[in-house]
């Protein structure tokens, strides 16, 4: 790791002070309000830069795009290209998976995440040593049962439950929020070692598309507020609050119009896209099936909030046919 020379740091400090029109006293106060906290709260300064306890995963490939006739095989290959499940899940981990399990629909209708994909992801997490694998969403329990998600999870050795009670959520601050200040997020997600988001690619009447970031609206309690204020801004702020360890997007069947519950035009794209950057992933899928991602406000805002990279061409991408 490169360490910046002290002279260079001093030069930068001067610039920052000038740029922000801060007095020296205030600048020191400002820089220490973070630093002193960290220094005295943690046993050693090095922990500031030591990310060993964090779960960010470096991969050679940022976006894996796999096309083929089997949703399960597409899914496995996509994660394989990113380095395999063992790069994301360690022995003893608690894993939480959030699919889109809306309604009692067949996969060809492109309304909910393909149960076969959920099945293989649960199974692979267990193989990678996960202590527990829970599949959750703020949806009706009956939906899990009727669309086959529940059966798939149970067969693979995982557990599932609907997040229908307020007591299942915990209030957390939204640091990058301008509309949201605190948000009640599912405790399962906050306490998990690994959070895997498994959205399905759909059109959405309110947010134009529902992809990985919009799918997070199934991990918070108060969704009505999002619709009453500014849906796009709230989606982006929620995405800036909750970290997703891995995203596996179901684009085997894509609902191109009349989402989120159809019936609408369905494209049998036979594709699964995986990655860790929600903005890049959503931007790529939007570009692929709908329009310029910069025209979708929540994708653009999320990029502005530092959630990810909207210009997916800057990332390393691998397209594979199986």
């Amino acid at each position: 790791m490169k360490i910046r020379q002290p002279e260079k740091w001093l030069r930068m400090k001067g610039n920052i002070m000038k740029k922000h029109n801060l007095s020296r006293r205030r600048f020191i106060k400002y820089s220490t309000m973070a630093g002193v906290h960290a220094a005295f709260a943690s046993p050693i300064l090095a922990s500031v830069t030591d990310n060993a306890e964090l779960r960010a995963v470096d991969t050679d490939c940022d976006l894996a795009v796999v096309t083929g006739s089997s949703p399960a095989k597409n899914c496995l290959k996509a994660v394989d290209v990113l380095g395999g499940f063992s790069r994301f899940v360690r022995s003893g981990d608690s894993v939480v998976i959030k699919p889109n399990p809306v309604g009692r629909n067949r996969p060809e209708q492109a309304i909910n995440t393909h149960p076969e994909m959920v099945r293989v992801v649960v199974s692979e997490c267990i193989k990678a040593g996960a202590k527990t694998v829970k599949v959750v969403s703020h949806d009706d329990s009956r939906s899990f049962i009727m669309n086959g998600t529940a059966e798939a999870v149970e067969q693979a050795g995982g557990s599932w439950h609907a997040l229908n009670e307020e007591s299942q959520y915990r209030s957390v601050v939204v640091p990058r929020g301008t509309i949201l200040r605190h948000e009640r997020i599912a405790a399962d997600i906050l306490d998990a070692d690994v959070f895997i988001n498994m959205p399905i690619a759909k059109h959405h009447a309110g947010s134009t598309v529902t992809l990985s970031m919009k799918n997070l609206m199934g991990i918070n309690w108060d969704r009505i507020r999002f619709h009453r204020t500014d849906l796009h801004q709230c989606i982006a702020e929620l995405a800036a609050t909750v970290r997703q360890s891995l995203i596996i997007m179901d684009a085997n069947h894509v609902l191109l119009t009349n989402g989120p519950i159809g019936p609408g035009e369905v494209k049998a794209a036979q594709t699964v896209i995986a990655g860790v950057d929600p903005v890049a992933l959503d931007a790529y899928v939007t570009h692929l099936f709908w329009q310029d991602p910069a025209e979708i406000r929540h994708i653009r805002i999320a990029h502005e909030l530092g959630v990810g990279e909207i210009d997916f061409t800057k990332l390393s991408m691998r397209e594979i046919r199986v």
């Binding site: 790791m1 490169k2 360490i3 910046r4 002290p6 260079k8 740091w9 400090k13 920052i16 922000h20 801060l22 020191i28 106060k29 400002y30 820089s31 220490t32 309000m33 973070a34 630093g35 002193v36 906290h37 960290a38 220094a39 709260a41 943690s42 050693i44 300064l45 090095a46 500031v48 830069t49 990310n51 964090l54 779960r55 960010a56 009956r142 009670e165 307020e166 957390v172 601050v173 640091p175 990058r176 929020g177 301008t178 200040r181 605190h182 009447a205 204020t229 500014d230 800036a240 609050t241 909750v242 970290r243 019936p263 609408g264 035009e265 502005e304 909030l305 530092g306 990810g308 990279e309």
Partner: protein
């Protein structure tokens, strides 16, 4: 580790060291650092998240996301660590160096909230005023609600500081800063209300008049029109076109587009005011489009109108309407290119229904069936189309055809029931709700819906039993407590009603029906024997 005895000396070592370590992050993509901060936040380690944000601010001087990092630092200090003093410094970075960014106004507002928590009223008022000024310059306009909240906060601080005239000064300060048109209208309305409360009728009237003549597109226009009597004492306004224009708002609400079109055209003949002409033209286009169903023409005319405006953002409704008209006309073109496509007919039918064009919806959905469409959803959509047009028998037969293929579609049964209930066709609604209960006997919502039908039919005792069953199935089903409270009141069981309403408020203290429940509770208390 041996503690450092001299804290000043300790800091002199620690601060540069941390900064050096942070600065080392600059070789990383900034997104990676934001991600790291988020991971620390998810783990509840906000101290480390602050350090990462600090590193971003120091290490990525020209990145447009610096104000986000500063906002995040402020929010963590203010909302999580309860250090408003330190939060102010972070918000200040945004306010002073990135004031024209989309975060400028909100940072100034939160800075004001920090000062207010510290009871530094003058500084708080100044910050709220700054927030309002900055809101006009943002690339994304803030909502009227935001403006109202912030201007109220500014005025509250002036009040707390014991400065009665400061309340009015605050509003006038904001108006002098030439805010965006919607902000100007909202603040002017508050100013007029303040003048009215201090007895300065002439100044109140002139501000109401300004709203009416300069901002007929604003949401406070109709409220200002309610002061017509007061305004007429001090100002001369040719009222007729303004009164007719105000009436079109009510016509749109009742979907009386014919009358709205007639009045809009009348306004255009009678007024010399260019702003009012633009607003009336907009409403004439929308009313005509809804009447003719020619969305392509509507979209083209709206586009032309908006292109003539200096700032189309002054009419956000027109922009949204243009988007809708364009979407519909695109779907219509799709059908012209592919006239035999059943699915495209279905999609257009559903879109027409969403926009309330039931007649056109019925036409294209009927066509979809003629083309051989076998999807049962066509019958369901047709049913809603007929129901909206008041063609109950056709609606009923369409719904029945749908239910023959989908007898257990609980969601559809519920929607159909509420559609008829909304039209006052209680008996029809009860039939579908009853089927909903039969299909989903363990679903509390089914019993809740059936209960509502029974309550509407005046069968409060049976309704109460359904609500009791809903609560039995799910003791957190808030709506059933409220409705059970209503049913018990009708059965003159006041004490049971009170208990249910209190239970409802425990479950939903801030929900949209909370006020209704509180009102009912007040009425029950008022009628109790002790108060008579």
């Amino acid at each position: 580790m041996k503690p450092l005895r001299n804290p000043v000396f300790a800091l002199s070592i620690i601060i540069p060291l941390i900064s050096m370590l942070n600065a080392a992050n600059a070789s990383e993509p900034i997104v990676r650092l934001f991600d790291r901060a988020k991971e620390y936040e998810t783990k509840g380690d906000y101290s480390k998240a602050l350090t990462v944000y600090s590193g971003i601010i120091e290490g990525y001087e020209n990145d447009p996301r610096i104000p986000v990092a500063a906002m995040a630092m402020g929010n963590i200090q203010f909302l999580e660590m309860e250090n408003p003093g330190q939060a102010i410094d972070a918000y200040d970075i945004v306010v002073t160096s990135y004031s024209d960014s989309k975060w400028g106004a909100e940072a100034a507002r939160r800075k004001g909230e920090c000062f207010r928590q510290l009871e530094q009223w003058d500084e708080a008022r100044e910050s709220f005023g700054e927030a309002l000024k900055l809101s006009g310059g943002s690339t994304e306009p803030v909502s009227d609600e935001w403006i109202n909240e912030v201007s109220l906060s500014a005025a509250d601080c002036a009040f707390e500081a014991g400065d009665r005239s400061g309340v009015i000064e605050t509003y006038e300060d904001v108006l002098r800063s030439d805010p965006a048109p919607h902000t100007d209208a909202s603040i002017r309305f508050r100013l007029a209300e303040s003048y009215l409360s201090t007895g300065d009728s002439s100044l109140a009237a002139s501000n109401y008049a300004e709203i009416i003549t300069a901002y007929p597109f604003s949401q406070v226009f109709n409220q200002a029109m309610e002061q017509k009597g007061l305004i007429s004492r001090f100002e001369e306004i040719p009222w007729e076109p303004y009164t007719e224009y105000a009436q079109t708002t009510r016509d749109f609400a009742t979907r009386d587009f014919e009358h709205a079109l007639e009045l809009s055209e009348s306004v255009l003949k009678k007024t010399e005011n260019d702003v009012l002409k633009t607003c009336a033209t907009y409403r004439a286009i929308v009313a005509q489009t809804m009447l003719t169903g020619d969305f392509s023409d509507g979209a083209a005319r709206l586009d032309s109108l908006l292109s003539r405006l200096e700032d189309p953002r002054t009419m956000p409704n027109a922009l949204q309407q243009l988007e809708r008209f364009t979407a519909v006309s695109q779907q219509e073109r799709d059908i012209q290119q592919d006239p035999e496509n059943v699915e495209k007919h279905m999609i257009l039918g559903q879109t027409y229904l969403q926009y309330g064009n039931a007649a056109q919806a019925v036409t294209v959905l009927t066509k979809a069936k003629e083309l051989g469409g076998e999807d049962a959803s066509i019958d369901l959509l047709l049913g809603f189309g007929h129901a909206t047009m008041g063609e109950t028998e056709f609606a009923d037969s369409s719904f029945m055809r749908y239910l023959e293929n989908n007898p257990e579609d609980a969601l559809a049964l519920n929607r159909i029931g509420y559609t008829f209930l909304g039209q006052g066709l209680t008996e029809r609604a009860l039939y579908y709700f009853q089927r909903y209960v039969a299909v989903a006997p363990d679903d509390p919502n089914a019993h809740d819906s059936y209960g509502e039908g029974l309550l509407n039919a005046g069968r409060a005792d049976e309704a109460a039993r359904e609500y009791e069953r809903a609560i039995e199935l799910d003791e957190t089903f808030a709506n059933s407590y409220l409705m059970l409270g209503t049913a018990y009141r009708q059965l003159d069981e006041q004490e049971k009603s009170r208990l249910m309403l209190e239970e409802f408020l425990k479950l939903s203290p801030e929900g949209p029906q909370a006020d209704q429940a509180r009102q009912m509770l007040t009425e029950i208390e008022g009628n109790s024997p002790g108060n008579q």
